[in-house]
C-alpha cells in the first residue's frame, strides 16, 4: 500500500524526520505514537504530499508519490487533520459534499445523483445524517470530527489518514470515533494510519504501532512489542506500569505520578 524508504524531511533545512523506513500493509491499522515534537504530524504531511521529502522515497500504491498528481492522490488517500475546520459557516452536508471535489471535472457544476447518494451513505454511516442541515460551527467537537470523517469517506479512499482524531473529545466520543474507524477498516477494507496521543487507545485499536522519537523511528511492531515499560520509560522519560487489559488482553499502560511515589517525598 505505502512504502517509505530513507525518508528525510523538515522545514527550512531543519530536519524533523531523519531516515524513516517502513511499509504500510494493505488493510491494517497503523498507529503513530511519540512525544510532542517527535515528528508525527510531519510524517503525515510528507505522506499526503504537503511537504516534499529532502531525500528518500515514498511509494504509494506502487507509484512514486512525486509522480502522483494531487487530484489522483485525493481519490486514493483521505486526510483528516487536527485543524480541520471551516472558516465560513457551512452546513455539515456542504462540508461532506466537498469530499467529492476530486471527482468533479472543471466544467461540472452540480453534484451528480451518484455524488448525492455517496454523501448520504457516508453521513448515515457516521451517524451524522440528522445533523446535515446544521451549521458546522454549532456542532460539538465530537460531532464535527464525525462530519470530517464522513467527508473523508466520500473521497472513497483506500488509505485513511487521521491526525489525532480523538483530541479534546470526551471518552464516549473517543470510543465512537475509533469504533467507527475500526468499522471502516473491517467493513470497507480501508487501510488506516493515525496519530494518537493516548497509548491505551493506540494499543486497543491498532494492528501495529510505530513509535517516533526525535524524528527517528524508535520501534515498529504489534502493540505488545512496542508498548513495554522499558521502551516507554526510555522514550517518554516517564515512569509507567504496563498491565494487560482484562478484556482485550492488549497492553494497558498505567501512569505513575512522580510525586508521592515510594522513596519520593511529597
Amino acid at each position: 500500500m505505502l512504502e517509505v524508504k530513507n525518508l528525510v524531511c523538515g522545514y527550512n533545512n531543519k530536519f524533523v524526520l531523519k531516515d524513516i523506513n517502513f511499509e504500510l500493509k494493505n488493510k491494517e491499522i497503523l498507529g503513530i505514537i511519540g512525544p510532542n515534537g517527535s515528528g508525527k504530524t510531519t510524517l503525515l504531511r510528507a505522506i499526503s504530499k504537503i511537504i516534499k521529502p529532502q531525500t528518500g522515497q515514498i511509494i504509494f500504491e506502487g507509484k512514486s508519490l512525486k509522480k502522483t498528481g494531487l487530484n489522483e492522490l485525493a481519490k486514493k488517500m483521505a486526510v483528516v487533520t487536527q485543524f480541520s475546520e471551516s472558516y465560513f459557516n457551512m452546513t455539515a452536508e456542504e462540508i461532506v459534499q466537498l469530499g467529492r471535489t476530486p471527482y468533479h471535472s472543471k466544467l461540472q457544476f452540480l453534484e451528480t445523483k451518484q455524488d448525492e447518494e455517496i454523501v448520504e451513505q457516508a453521513m448515515l454511516l457516521t451517524e451524522t445524517f440528522n445533523l446535515r442541515n446544521r451549521p458546522i460551527l454549532e456542532l460539538s467537537g465530537g460531532e464535527r470530527q464525525l462530519v470530517f470523517i464522513a467527508r473523508a469517506i466520500v473521497q472513497q479512499p483506500k488509505l485513511l489518514v487521521l491526525d489525532e482524531p480523538t483530541a479534546h473529545l470526551d471518552i464516549a466520543h473517543q470510543i465512537r470515533i475509533l469504533d467507527l474507524t475500526k468499522k471502516l477498516n473491517t467493513n470497507l477494507g480501508l487501510t488506516v494510519m493515525m496519530v494518537l496521543h493516548d497509548l491505551n487507545l493506540a494499543s486497543e485499536y491498532c494492528d501495529r504501532i510505530m513509535l517516533l522519537n526525535n524524528g527517528n523511528m524508535h520501534k515498529i511492531g504489534i502493540p505488545s512489542d512496542v508498548l513495554t515499560y522499558q521502551i516507554i520509560e526510555e522514550v517518554y522519560k516517564t515512569v509507567v506500569v504496563v498491565e494487560k487489559n482484562p478484556i482485550s488482553k492488549k497492553p494497558y499502560i498505567i501512569l505513575v505520578s512522580n510525586v508521592g511515589r515510594i522513596g519520593n517525598p511529597v
Partner: protein, 331 residues
C-alpha cells in the same frame, strides 16, 4: 429538475429583478425627474427630445458603469475572502486598490491620459498587478504562500501607496489636483463610452473566469492544506485568482476611483442571506454589488441636489452602518 439548481435559479431571478427595479428607479429620478410612464414613451418616440438624451446619454451609461464597477468590486471581494478565508478582506486590505490608485494618479499627473484615454485602465491594472506581484514575491518562501504574511505586507503596501498619492498631490499643480481629488473620492461619471464598454467586458470576463475556480474556492474554505488534500492545486489556483482579482480591481479603480466597502459588505451579506457556496455566491454577489452601487450612485446624485456627492461617501456610510448593525444583530 435538481432542487439546488431550482433554488439557485429562483435566487438569481429575484436578484436580477431587484437589479432591474433599481436601474429603472435610477433612470427616473434626478435633477429633472422623469415619470416611469414618460420613460416608455420617450424610448418609443426615439431620438430628439431632451428626456431621450438625459436617459441615454447621461443616466443609462452611469447605470451600466455602476453595474460593472459594483459587480467587479464585489467579485474581487469574494475571490480575496475565499482565498484568505477571512470575511474582512477585500481589495483595499491587500493594497491592490491602493496600487491601482497610485498608477492612475501618476498617469494623471504625468498627463499620459492626454495621448490615449485607454492608458487609464492600463495604468490602474499595472498598479494593481505590481502590488500583487510585490506581495507575492515578498512572501513567497519555499514555494508556499503564507496567508498571514501576505495580508500584513498588503496592508503596509496600501499605506505606502496612499502616502505616495499624498506626496504626488502635494507637489502637483492645482488643475491636476482637482482632477485627482474628484477621481479619488469615487464617481461614476464617465463621459468616455469606450471606457464603459471595456469595463463591462472585463467585469463579465472576470465573472466567467472566476466560475472556473468555484469548486476550488469552496475547498479553500476548509484551509489551504485541506484544499490540497482534496486535490486542488493551491499554488496555481492562487496565482490565477490573484491575477483575476487585480484585473477587476484595476479596471474598477481606474474608471470610478476609490469606492470602498462594496467588496467587503456585499459578499458578507450574500453569505449571510443566500449561501457560502461559491457556485451561487459568485453570481449573487456580482448582481447584488451592481444593484447596490447603482442605488448608492442614485442617492449621491439626488440627496443634496444640485450638488453631487462622491459615491464613495455614500457606500462608506451605508455600507459601514449596515455592516455594524447586522454584525451585532447576529450575535
Amino acid at each position: 429538475m435538481n432542487k439546488k439548481l431550482f433554488r439557485w435559479s429562483i435566487q438569481i431571478l429575484i436578484l436580477a429583478g431587484v437589479l432591474f427595479a433599481v436601474s429603472i428607479f435610477s433612470l427616473c429620478v434626478g435633477s429633472s425627474g422623469i415619470p416611469l410612464k414618460k420613460i416608455f414613451w420617450t424610448i418609443f418616440e426615439g431620438r430628439g427630445s431632451t428626456e431621450y438624451s438625459i436617459i441615454f446619454d447621461i443616466r443609462l451609461p452611469r447605470i451600466i458603469l455602476g453595474f460593472a464597477v459594483g459587480g467587479s468590486l464585489s467579485l474581487a471581494g469574494v475571490i480575496l475572502q475565499g482565498l484568505f478565508r477571512n470575511p474582512l478582506v477585500e481589495p483595499y486590505t491587500l493594497g491592490i486598490s491602493g496600487g491601482a490608485a497610485l498608477g492612475v494618479c501618476l498617469n494623471i499627473v504625468l498627463g499620459i491620459y492626454h495621448t490615449s484615454i485607454l492608458s487609464l485602465p492600463v495604468s490602474g491594472f499595472a498598479g494593481a498587478i505590481l502590488v500583487v506581484l510585490l506581495v507575492y514575491f515578498l512572501t513567497l518562501k519555499k514555494g508556499i504562500l503564507k496567508i498571514q504574511g501576505l495580508l500584513l505586507t498588503g496592508v503596509m503596501l496600501s499605506f505606502i501607496s496612499s502616502s505616495l498619492i499624498m506626496f504626488i498631490m502635494a507637489v502637483s499643480q492645482t488643475e491636476d489636483l482637482h482632477g485627482i481629488i474628484f477621481w479619488i473620492m469615487g464617481s461614476l461619471e464617465e463621459p468616455n463610452m469606450l471606457l464603459i464598454k471595456i469595463t463591462v467586458f472585463l467585469s463579465v470576463f472576470g465573472l466567467f473566469g472566476t466560475y472556473l475556480f468555484c469548486h476550488d474556492l469552496n475547498a479553500f474554505a476548509l484551509g489551504e492544506e485541506e484544499a490540497s488534500h482534496l486535490g486542488v492545486d493551491t499554488e496555481k489556483t492562487k496565482k490565477a485568482l490573484f491575477i483575476l482579482s487585480s484585473l477587476l480591481t484595476g479596471i474598477a479603480v481606474s474608471v470610478a476611483g476609490v469606492i470602498g466597502f462594496v467588496g467587503l459588505v456585499i459578499p458578507h451579506f450574500v453569505r449571510m442571506f443566500i449561501a457560502s457556496d461559491h457556485r451561487i455566491l459568485i453570481i449573487a454577489s456580482f448582481l447584488t454589488g451592481g444593484a447596490f452601487l447603482i442605488l448608492c450612485d442614485t442617492l449621491a446624485r439626488t440627496v443634496i441636489a444640485p450638488i453631487e456627492l462622491p459615491v464613495g461617501v455614500i457606500t462608506g456610510i451605508i455600507g459601514g452602518m449596515m455592516f455594524i448593525y447586522f454584525l451585532n444583530k447576529r450575535k
